[in-house]
Amino acid sequence: MPQSPPNLATTQFQNSTGQGTGNNGNADAPYNPPGAKNTDSCLPLHAAGEVTHNYSSNGPAPGNIVFRWLYGSNVAALNRDPRIQAVQYNEDTYILRQNVCVHWEAPFSYLLFGNKGALLIDTGATPEPAYYPLRETVDRIVARWTRFRRKQSVPLTVVMTSAEDIAQNQGIGQFTGRPGTTLAPKPLEETKRFYKLAGSWPSGASQIDLGDRIVDVIPTPGTHKDGITFYDRYNDILHTGDLLYPGKINISNDRDYVASLERLKQWRAANSVKWILGGHIEMEFAPGKAYPRFATYKPYERLLQMNPELIDDALASAREVAGKQTMLVRPDFILMNGVSPDERTRVFPAGVPNITSPRPF
C-alpha cells in the first residue's frame, strides 16, 4: 500500500513505517541534525564535518524489513544468489543473512552502529570466507557508514547470542587480527567476565555503549548454557538468537529456559519492545508448520520478526513442556524438550488452520 506523505503542517509526524509518532521525516525535530532537509535520512545533505547522530528517539526508531529473504533453490548446487543478503533496517542497523545454500541454518547477523562504535551480533555458520564472506561484507558496510558519517574509523565489537552455537560462532575467526576490533570470548566463564556479569549471571544485566546508543546484555540461558539476548534501546528490538525465534527451538535446560523467558517478560514490562528478531527462520508461512532440518529450499518461509506478545505464548508453552520429553507446536514456533531434533508429532494446536504448503519438484 502506498504510504501517504507525512503532513509537515502538523506537529505529529509519522515515521517511515507509517506507524507510531517517531520524529523522523521532520526536519525541525531534534532527532535530525542541523541542516537536515525534509527527508527520512538522519544525515545532513551537506555535512561540514563528523556527523554525530542523536539516538534518542520517541518510541522505536524508524525502520523496517522491506525485502523478502532469499529462500534457496530447489537444487542447492545451482543457487547463484548472494552468499550474504544484507538488508538495511535503518541507517544505523543492518541485517545480514547467510544464504541457505551455503549453510542450511541460514543464520541472521545484526550490525548496529552508534556514534563511537559498531556491534556485530552473531557470525554465521560457515568459517570459510570463500563460501561466506562475512568479514568482507561487514568491512564494506562499515567503510560506507564511516564515509557517510565523515568519521576517521569505527571500532567494531563482535558478540554472539551463544558462543557455543556452531550456527552462530563460525564466522568470528574471520575477524581475528582486524584492527580496532574486540571479539567476544567463547568459554562461558570468560563470557561472563567479558560482559561484567561474573557475579550476577544470569539474573543481572549489563550494557554495551556504542556511543549514545546503548545495547543491553541480558543473560538468557536455556537453549544454550551461554545464551545471551541483546536489547537495542534505539530500535527497541530484542535479539534473542536461539532462545526465541520462528523455528524449532531445542530446549537444552527447561528450568533455565522458563527462567530466561520470565526475565524477558519482565524486561518487556519495563521497556518498549517493538520486535523480537531471532537467529533463524524455520517456520513456514502456514502456522504451526516448520521446514525440516537441512532444507535448502524454503519458498514459503515465515517472516523473521516476532511480535513481543509471543513472549507470553513462549513462556506458557515452556511451562507446559517443562519436565517432559515432548514437542509442542505453536503457530509461530515449536518447542522441543528432550527429544530428537527430528521429532514429529500429530498434535496440532486447536483453532489454527492446518495448511500444507506445496512441495517442490
Binding site: 530447489n74 542447492a76 548446487a77 547463484r80 570459510e128 537444552s252 535446560n253 530428537s340 527430528d342 519438484f361
Partner: protein
C-alpha cells in the same frame, strides 16, 4: 555455423570404418564378471552452492554395468542408480530425486552412457531398447522418470503397484521370481515388500550383484511393515542359499565408516562408508532381525533396522543439552 554443423555431424556419425563389428557379447561364460566400486563416491560439500562435483557420478563397475549416484547438493537423498547393458536392451534401475531435466540432467547422462557403450560395442544407440524401472514406489527413486517419457525406443514403469507388478509380468507378487532377458544377460526379479508394499529385489546373473533397494541398505532401513519385511528377508536368505552373490547393493548410504549415523537430510557426508555390502552383513542382519520383537532402532554393525518407527527417524539428539 555451417562448418560447426558439419563438424558436429562428423563427430556424431557412427564411424563405420573403424567401429568394431557388432558381436554378440557372452554374459554367461565367465561369471561373476569382475568389477569394482570407486574408492569414494561423491558425498556432498560443506557449502552446497560451491559444490563442484558433477550432477551425477557415473561409475563403470565393468564394461557392461554402470552405477550412478546423484550429487548430494542436488538432492540430499543422493540415491544410487544402475544401468545394465545386454545385447538387445538396457535396464535402468531408479531415476533419482529431482524431476526437471533443467535442474538435473539424468536423461543426458544416461543417453551419453548408452552412446558410449554402443560406440565401444558396435551398436547403434537407437537400436537399444531402454527399460526404465525402479526399485520401489518412492519419489526419491523415480522423480526423473518423466525425463524419459519422450525418449524413443523406451519403455517405462508406471507409478502404481499394479503397473509395477504388470511391468515385470508378475501374477503372484511377491513370491514369484521372474527372469528378464536383456539379450544374453538375465536379471532375476522378485517382490521385496516391507519398506513399502511395492518393492522389488533385482539380481544380475552377470555380475551376480544383488540389489535390495531401500529394503536393505547401508543406512536407516525404515521398516514400515515388519512381517512383510521379515518374509522378504527370508526370501533373500533362501536366494543366498541357491545363488552366488558377489555384493549386496542398496539405494543410499547414511553411515560413516565408523558406523556413525548421518542425520536425515544432511547434505555433506565426508567420511561415508562404502555403498556395497557383503553377503555376510546381510546374513548377520537377518540374525539380528530374528531377535527383534518390538519397534525401535537396531544397529547390526552395518545397517540400522528402524522397525516401525516413523519415516525420517534418526538417532540424533540436541548436542547442547546441559544440567544446571
Amino acid at each position: 555455423m555451417a562448418a560447426q554443423l558439419v563438424a558436429a555431424v562428423v563427430d556424431g556419425a557412427p564411424q563405420t570404418a573403424e567401429a568394431p563389428i557388432a558381436q554378440q557379447i557372452d554374459f554367461t561364460g565367465h561369471t561373476p564378471a569382475p568389477g569394482s566400486f570407486p574408492a569414494r563416491w561423491i558425498c556432498g560439500s560443506p557449502s552446497c552452492m560451491d559444490n563442484t562435483d558433477p550432477p551425477v557420478q557415473v561409475h563403470w563397475y565393468n564394461e557392461h554395468t554402470v552405477f550412478m549416484r546423484q550429487n548430494k547438493a542436488y538432492s540430499y537423498e543422493a540415491p544410487f542408480m544402475h544401468l545394465y547393458f545386454g545385447n538387445e536392451r538396457v535396464l535402468m534401475l531408479d531415476q533419482g530425486f529431482t524431476t526437471l531435466r533443467s535442474d538435473w540432467p539424468l536423461r543426458d547422462v544416461v543417453d551419453e552412457s548408452i552412446v558410449k557403450w554402443c560406440a565401444r560395442h558396435g551398436r547403434k544407440p537407437e537400436d537399444m531398447e531402454l527399460l526404465a524401472a525402479f526399485s520401489h514406489l518412492h519419489s526419491d527413486h523415480y522423480a526423473a522418470l518423466a525425463q524419459f517419457t519422450d525418449r524413443p525406443n523406451t519403455r517405462y514403469m508406471g507409478l502404481t503397484h499394479e503397473e509395477m507388478v504388470g511391468f515385470w509380468g508378475m501374477t503372484n507378487y511377491p513370491e514369484e521370481r521372474v527372469t528378464l532377458d536383456l539379450g544374453g544377460r538375465n536379471i532375476l526379479i522378485w517382490g521385496s515388500p516391507g519398506h513399502v508394499i511395492s518393492e522389488f529385489a533385482y539380481y544380475d546373473t552377470y555380475t551376480q550383484i544383488l540389489f535390495t533397494g531401500d529394503m536393505f541398505y547401508r543406512g536407516r532401513c525404515y521398516i514400515t511393515y515388519w512381517d512383510k519385511w521379515f518374509d522378504s528377508m527370508k526370501r533373500l536368505m533362501d536366494f543366498l542359499d541357491t545363488h552366488p552373490v558377489t555384493h549386496v547393493v542398496g539405494c543410499h548410504v547414511e553411515c560413516s565408516r565408523t558406523g556413525e549415523d548421518y542425520p536425515y537430510g544432511v547434505t555433506y557426508q565426508p567420511d561415508e562408508a562404502p555403498m556395497h555390502l557383503t553377503v555376510a552383513e546381510l546374513r548377520h542382519a537377518f540374525e539380528v532381525a530374528k531377535t527383534i520383537t518390538k519397534p525401535g532402532i537396531y544397529f547390526t554393525g552395518s545397517v540400522y533396522l528402524c522397525n516401525e518407527t516413523r519415516g525420517t527417524t534418526t538417532i540424533d539428539r540436541n548436542p547442547y543439552r546441559y544440567d544446571s
